[in-house]
């Protein structure tokens, strides 16, 4: 056990493995953080783009006319269906809704799940704790920096203003993506990097093991030959063909053995 601990192979392998782990660890730390941040950014951009597209398609004058209790009217149903259609086009979108200012707060107007059996809010339901991003959406497209709570779950959301025919902002459209979907996207990057690093460490370990194994095998051969000669047995053959330092050592060793044989042979002949 002590011999194994002090062998060059153990030292080499341990040294390389520590080096590889250090490099990959640092790479992982820097790459995962930056990559997940980028994924979140691109998801946010995607939500803002979809919110802006949806807002451009909506008729602001029609939405402004919707009052509590009008959920069964054709005006509501048509707009709700339009939103449902948009949200169903992307299976990662959990809900598209419209909201407007009501007093000091905000209220929901249309819920994309209304006529497809996934209704969560009615016209006039208050938006609990409107976020700064929702408020700033009345001046231009905006996005949540982090996950927010809705009646339908935890989401990441993008918003865009809805305008009427006169160009006045009458409300906002919100596009919600399930937090789990966003988290999965970010986790996927981390897991992929983990997998690549694991495979990298595995390959490096294998290469190091093979490399040090052949090197140690040749050193052992030289040690064995030296031991034989030191006991008077010159009948040794060294079959090491390498172009590195060990190969050079083996060549010098061969020359030394040859000289020893010549001298021993001469002495024998003299006798």
């Amino acid at each position: 056990m002590a011999d194994m601990l002090h062998s060059i192979m153990t030292k080499l392998t341990a040294g390389f493995v520590i080096l590889v782990i250090l490099i990959t660890g640092l790479t992982f730390l820097f790459t995962v953080g930056a990559s997940t941040e980028k994924i979140q950014e691109s998801t946010q951009q995607e939500l803002v783009a979809l919110a802006s597209l949806t807002a451009a398609d909506l008729n602001g004058d029609e939405i402004a006319k919707l009052k509590p209790g009008m959920e069964a009217e054709i005006l509501y149903l048509m707009n709700a269906e339009q939103l449902a259609h948009m949200s169903q086009a992307d299976h990662e979108i959990v809900k598209i809704f419209t909201a407007r200012k009501q007093g000091d707060g905000m209220e929901y107007v249309i819920d994309s799940g209304y006529n497809i059996g996934k209704r969560d809010v009615k016209i006039g339901n208050p938006v609990s704790n409107p976020t700064p991003a929702m408020i700033s959406a009345f001046t231009g497209p905006s996005v949540e920096k982090d996950f927010v709570e809705r009646p339908w779950g935890t989401v990441l959301a993008g918003y865009a203003p809805i305008k009427n025919a006169r160009g006045e902002v009458i409300g906002i459209v919100g596009v919600d993506m399930d937090a789990a979907v966003v988290q999965n996207r970010m986790d996927f990057v981390g897991q992929t990097i983990y997998l690549i690093l694991f495979l990298g460490i595995l390959c490096a370990g294998l290469i190091i093991a093979i490399f040090s194994r052949t090197m140690i095998r040749d050193i052992h051969m030289l040690i064995e030959s030296a031991n034989k000669i030191s006991r008077g047995d010159t009948n040794v053959s060294i079959s090491i063909n390498r172009n590195d330092e060990i190969g050079e050592l083996a060549s010098s060793f061969k020359r030394m053995i040859t000289s020893l044989k010549i001298l021993m042979h001469q002495d024998y002949q003299h006798e």
Binding site: K254, R255, T258, S259, L260, K261, I262, L263, H265, Q266
Partner: protein
């Protein structure tokens, strides 16, 4: 030492190590009419190469012994 013996020794040491001189002196003495190794000239190289090839094959691989003999032979 003549230029030729120096050149032969330089080549032989690469294959036979420090005892190369011993082998070369012996082969010169026995096969080149008692000539001393330091006195050999280019005209002796072909004959010496033949005997060095045979003698060194007892201590190193056959192909290496032949390679050594060829190199010495080319000095002639």
């Amino acid at each position: 030492m003549s230029k030729t013996s120096d050149a032969v020794l330089e080549i032989a040491v690469e294959y036979l190590g420090p005892a190369a001189i011993t082998l070369l002196e012996r082969q010169t003495k026995f096969h080149l009419q008692g000539l001393n190794f330091p006195d050999i000239g280019p005209e002796h190289c072909k004959e010496l190469a033949k005997w060095v090839g045979l003698a060194s094959a007892m201590f190193i691989e056959q192909d290496l012994a032949q390679e050594l003999a060829d190199k010495i032979g080319k000095l002639g």
